[in-house]
């Protein structure tokens, strides 16, 4: 119960940050990605502000095996830098550059009732399902 309430709270604050920062507005995101045009550096400050607080939080978290609410810390253990990581990230970046949406802002735009935000989220979920299907097929062929 506590876990779910904390999740809801974090989601709400995250959404608030996305709205206030301007990240929920694809036109603003594309203004940041357009280095050759008139460049809007705002997004760099969004990342900078978030990481500044994140650095502190992770330095605290690193020393703990249980969270403040008593749950196991589940930090990523994968350190492999491989084709999947780079290829997937490049593919994500192309999609980001086409629409100006990454996953969080798209969910906020969908919540705001923007039709294109809803269509983007539906396509993104379809893409994630496609990934699951490919992975399951791969696991089968490796297993047999």
């Amino acid at each position: 119960m506590k876990y779910n309430v904390a999740s809801l709270g974090a989601g709400l604050i995250f959404g608030l940050g996305l709205i206030i920062s301007g990240l929920a507005n694809p036109a603003k995101v594309l203004g940041f990605l357009d280095l050759a045009g008139l460049w809007d550096p705002s997004l760099a400050l969004v990342m900078g502000g978030a990481i500044l607080i994140g650095l502190f939080a992770f330095s605290v978290a690193r020393k703990r095996s249980l969270s403040l609410l008593g749950f196991n810390m589940k930090l990523p253990t994968n350190t492999k830098i491989d084709k999947r990581l780079v290829g997937g990230s490049l593919m994500f970046g192309v999609g980001w550059g086409i629409a100006g949406f990454c996953p969080g802002p798209a969910l906020v735009a969908a919540g705001a009732g923007e039709i294109k935000g809803i269509v983007f989220v539906a396509s993104m979920v379809a893409g994630m399902m496609l990934f699951e299907l490919i992975e399951r097929k791969r696991a089968h062929s490796v297993g047999s």
């Binding site: 939080a57 830098i81 999947r84 990581l85 294109k116």
Partner: protein, 145 residues
């Protein structure tokens, strides 16, 4: 040289919003012990035989619900989406497949991963940023759309 769009530059709201995003990631980490990676939280709903659906739905519900709560008190800032529907669908598919293969997006790799000083996340962030810059350059300045 880079020309800065000073009229579009919003340092105060960018820093405030960024700090709130950091606060959300920090509280999720310190309270629940997890990385606030949005593509991973969403993608985890699609993996079969999971018994951790509820917190995922709660987090995503918060994200989707915030603009609704906001609208109870004030008008939302402008959300300007210039891409057409075919482009939106292609972009959505690329972001869906790409973030799952790359194990993360702007939140998981960009905010949490860099805060964690993870080399893996640094490589991912540089990759999607570079792809984003190049894609916008091609669309706006080579194709001229």
């Amino acid at each position: 040289m880079i020309d800065i769009a000073w009229s579009e530059f919003t340092p105060l709201s960018a820093l405030t919003g960024g700090a709130l995003i950091g606060l959300a990631a920090a509280s999720f980490l310190l309270l629940n012990g997890r990385i606030a990676g949005i593509s991973g939280i969403l993608g985890g709903l699609l993996t079969p035989m999971r018994n951790d659906m509820i917190w995922r739905l709660a987090f995503l519900g918060g994200l989707i619900g915030m603009p609704i709560v906001w609208q109870l008190f004030a008008e939302l800032p402008e959300i300007e989406i210039n891409a057409g529907f075919p482009a939106i669908i292609i972009a959505g598919l690329l972001v869906g497949v790409g973030t799952r293969y790359g194990s993360g997006c702007t939140s998981g790799h960009g905010v949490c991963g860099l805060s964690r000083l993870s080399p893996r996340s640094l490589v991912a962030t540089l990759s999607f940023m570079a792809a984003g810059f190049v894609t916008v350059y091609i669309i706006r300045h080579l194709i001229g759309a």
